[in-house]
Amino acid sequence: MFILLQTTTISLSAIGLPVLIIGALGLIFGLILAVASKVFAVEIDPRVEEIIEVLPGANCGACGQAGCAGYAEQIVNGGEAIDKCAPGGSDVVAQIAQIMGMEASSSDRKVAVIHCSSGGHENTNWKYQYEGVETCKAAANVAGGPNSCSWGCMGLNDCMRACIFDAISIDSNGMRLIDLEKCTGCGACVKACPRALIDLVPINRNVYIKCSSKDKGVEARQVCGSLHPCIGCGICAKKCPVDAISIQNNLASIDYEKCINCGLCASACPTKSILDLLVGTRKQAEINPEGCIGCTICAKVCPVQAISGELKKIHEVDKAKCIGCELCVPKCPKKVIEMV
């Protein structure tokens, strides 16, 4: 390849000529590109431009798209994931997220909850022996589904397969369990479940109805294998201090806008069909008498009237009544209520 210059001295032509030629090439191409970028300019979404700027421009194709520009285009217009650029690494992802305005804050993130406690496995009463494609969607279509409860989980794991984050597993009771750490709230499982048993709930709500049966109470008791069906008795609704529970079609449902995590409903449910994640871990309020000014605000917010005291006098919490909902804590102007 190298036809060699036989000169050993640094002559002008040995250096000047190449400088001239390649320099000229550079000038020509620089000009062409500059002019062309003007003449052939095409309108594109400014976000696409911005992302192109951010991307490495290596055009390596690792993202599976047609080069960096193609990927940028796909992010903006095609809903492509933003973490596909290999050379860019994590910095680039963060930058794209910013451009796309996709930063989700973690406090109000939602996670999936399964509203059935049968788990479709050990606990369900079976209508027949199912032999067929092992997916919920297919089974639901064969004689109304293999489990006696036509609302409950069939346990063929469509949800589990749909979850690309491995957030769903089966616990020792054969119930499908959602790992709240891993769940991203993508909702894939919600779409996958043919019985519509899965629902997205804000992560800071910890009380769930574990049943979806709209059958009448007697029937529900008959068909439910887990023995924890919601029979629509309405006791929970009555117990709820904030009226977050309503009964429709023989089924209780919680309004998470209102729910305060107190867990009263769960302890009241005769069939134990309400799951309370905080059970046993709730603390109770205690008012530090030092700081209490007797403003009565806490007594007013307490849903169960566990706080008593006269105006301008030190208030006290009735431990027998306090349910640990923590509503009073942030309301106290003096910040003297503590959970212990």
Partner: protein
């Protein structure tokens, strides 16, 4: 420290071959022997380090419209330097790497790092990044070449490491073996990752 972080990330976390899967052509073409792999790796490291340095130095005077051509010119210059120096002092290696030396120019890692890292960071960090990525690249090449050379020639760095009765499995140093070896190595890495 940030410097060491940038330096070491290419070894495992952002390994250009096993994790980022970039620059496969030289990876597969030259790993028929460890010495070739090492040579290619170091050559690329040199280019990467130098081009990162320059790109990071000139980052403020490059107009965006001709950014890529400029980077390419910078990279191509260093590649040509490597090419010429190698031809002069390491003729045997130069010959066996052949076409793949000029092709370092288009190795996606190099342009990618120039764009993604060097054009946004200071010179020191860019050098760290270049060396780190380059050594990560070299490391991967050596690993692949080790497997291929031992299986396919029964030697490592030219030294016989298998019993004389071993009849080398030629395919390992041929094209199909290159793909398959890399495939299995990557699967192995996936497996280890899964275990964690």
């Amino acid at each position: 420290m940030k410097f060491t972080k940038e330096l070491t990330k290419g070894f495992v976390k952002d390994n250009p071959i096993f994790v980022l899967v970039l620059g496969l052509c030289p990876t597969l073409a030259v790993t028929t022997s460890v010495i070739n792999g090492l040579g290619m790796g170091l050559a690329a490291t040199f280019v990467l380090m130098c081009s990162n340095t320059i790109v990071s130095m000139i980052k403020n005077i490059t107009p965006p419209k001709i950014r890529i051509p400029i980077y390419i010119v910078v990279i191509a210059s260093f590649v040509t330097i490597v090419d010429m120096v190698m031809a002069a002092y390491l003729p045997a290696l130069h010959k066996s790497l052949g076409l793949f030396i000029p092709l370092i120019v288009v190795n996606c890692i190099i342009l990618g790092r120039a764009e993604a890292f060097a054009s946004k960071n200071n010179v020191l960090m860019s050098i760290a990044d270049g060396i780190g990525m380059g050594l990560g690249f070299t490391l991967s090449l050596v690993v692949i070449a080790t497997v291929r050379e031992i299986l396919g020639a029964g030697t490592w760095l030219g030294m016989r490491v298998t019993p004389l009765s071993y009849d080398p499995m030629l395919i390992a140093i041929l094209a199909p073996g290159a793909f398959i070896t890399l495939g299995f190595l990557m699967a192995l890495i996936n497996m280890i990752k899964e275990k964690k």
